[in-house]
């Protein structure tokens, strides 16, 4: 079990309030991702749940029990840190067994659990090595192994992949996803990378300056961002935001069109047109950065497959009208 509830939880450091009172529930077995720009309070929120920071006010419950004043080790949570935080003087096996040793488990049971975790994480051949002798990905797996053996109520991940290179990151993302599916344990994952959030989460919590901007499934956030901040943060490349006369035509202060909802074509007869500034040809997709449309400095277009447009070509743009997002003067979504 691992249902985590935050009731009016707030956090201040001295005079500075980094998290104003907020409410949030993470259901048992859910993969929740806290996402937001750096300094938005997502790591602090995770550390409050972990018990590594004390709440200034409010209450944290795990499976209905109040754990606000319970020390980290007694909350039944396991955490994976950005720096891996492995014990450099212990072998991989001892690192993984450490929480079991602290719990006073029999040596034989410890070994059995370590062996099982090592098998799941492909670490069997490295059990006698020290963390310093492992690659980044292996270290991360040891950190995850140390979390798994505790059989926690929930896993907390604090930007666990940001020290890895792109290829490894993708692999580990899948491993963590598969782990979640096989363990069916609650996971809370902090990242500033919206792609990680979109690909892994059941539920995304978008944070800005300690305030929850929106909570929902990845596709909820993609389809109906509640405000301009979420609209700009979720989706890659980012949504084109257009103000002025064009927005007013749609009865809004600002309209947003995602790059994939713009179709490039003949400039004649298209509602918008401009000149291609930079074109990025990836094979599977083509990204066009179009200038001189009179809508915004640059409009980004994402077209499927290979589109034979180059720098300096004129291009017409047709938005998918049903997928235009409308926002009012306060930046809030209009129905």
């Amino acid at each position: 079990m691992g249902r985590i509830t935050l009731n009016q939880v707030s956090k201040s450091f001295g005079e500075t309030q980094v998290i104003p009172p907020l409410d949030l529930t993470i259901e048992d077995g859910e993969f929740a991702v806290f996402v937001g720009p750096s300094g938005c309070g997502k790591s602090t929120l995770l550390r409050l749940i972990a018990g590594l920071e004390d709440v200034t006010s409010g209450q944290i419950e795990i499976d209905g029990g109040d754990v606000t004043d319970v020390p980290p080790a007694k909350r039944g949570l396991a955490m994976v840190f950005q720096s891996y935080a492995l014990y450099p003087h212990m072998s991989v096996a001892k690192n993984i067994a450490f929480p079991l040793r602290m719990a006073g488990m029999e040596k034989a049971d410890q070994d059995a659990r370590v062996a099982r975790a090592a098998e799941v994480l492909n670490l069997t051949d490295y059990l006698d090595r020290r963390p310093g002798q492992l690659s980044g990905g292996q270290r991360q797996r040891v950190a995850i192994g140390r979390a798994i053996v505790r059989e926690p109520a929930a896993f907390l991940f604090d930007e666990p992949l940001s020290n890895l290179d792109a290829a490894l990151r993708h692999g580990m993302r899948m491993e963590i996803g598969e782990l979640h599916q096989s363990l069916e344990t609650t996971m809370i994952y902090v990242t500033h990378d919206q792609v990680e959030a979109m690909t892994m989460a059941d539920k995304i919590v978008v944070l800005r300056a300690g305030v929850i901007e929106q909570v929902g499934s990845p596709l909820d956030l993609y389809r109906a961002p509640r405000n301009l901040f979420v609209a700009g943060f979720i989706g890659s490349p980012t949504m084109n935001l257009i103000r002025g006369a064009e927005a007013e035509k749609h009865g809004a202060q600002t309209i947003g069109v995602r790059p994939e909802h713009l179709v490039p074509g003949d400039p004649d007869g298209a509602p918008w047109s401009g000149t291609v500034g930079l074109s990025e040809h990836l094979g599977s997709d083509t990204f066009l950065h179009v200038h001189g449309t009179g809508l915004a400095d640059s409009i980004t277009v994402r077209a499927d497959g290979e589109v034979p447009l180059r720098h300096g070509d004129r291009v017409g743009l047709t938005p998918n009208v049903e997928r235009i997002h409308r926002f009012d003067g306060d930046g809030l979504r209009l129905a």
Partner: protein, 276 residues
Amino acid sequence: MARAVSTRTRIAWTALAWAIAFLMFFPILWTILTSFKTEAEAIASPPNFIAFDWTLENYGVVQERSDYMRYLWNSVIIAGGSTLLGILIAVPAAWAMAFVPGRFTRDILMWMLSTKMLPAVGVLYPIYLICIELGVLDNRAALVFILMLINLPIIVWMLYTYFKEIPGEILEAARMDGASLRSEILYVLTPMAIPGIASTVLLNFILAWNEAFWTLNLTSVEAAPLTAFIASYSSPEGLFFAKLSAASTMAIAPILILGWFSQKQLVRGLTFGAVK
């Protein structure tokens, strides 16, 4: 681009470095040489550097006249005991200052260090009187305690700088893994800080071993360490340079050998965590 250094410049610098090192080591060398001379040769002018009749006589006399092993044993107890006690107190103290600093942590550290700026003689009288009152003059346990207090600021400071280099996330991970405060310090922090703790122990052992002011003033017979052993060969019966040198050589030999074998750790200790 690496700076080009000509061979000649390098030779000049090397020679200069050796010359300075020799100059610093010379008094010790001279003491050792003198310890093998007769009393007459020891004060000969001009001095005889190597070509004299080497003799072990002084060592025999010194050993006969005073019980070297007793002084040595007192030195070991006082230096070792005060260092051990200091470490036991300083590890938790430095842990608290490095990982859960409060508003006044910096001030406390500075205040602790400032006690080292006070001339020791300034508190000789009160400490002497306290020792008399408690009946612990010429007492090894009292010296262990006093030397521990005197070196504690340095031990705490050194450990504090080492602990500061240990990433806090590792200790947080230990906390998440269910480690109590005791387990955290015992199984995670201390093993990781072993190199730092080792150089701290070493440096403080040497400081305590060489400490002469308190050991000379607060001991006479029972608790007298090697510093008192050397001092007993200075004045009253006139100048006996050769015997004094032999006593000095015997007193510094253990620490010199210890220092020689642990040069690396010592250098790290002396740079005080400045070099990472």
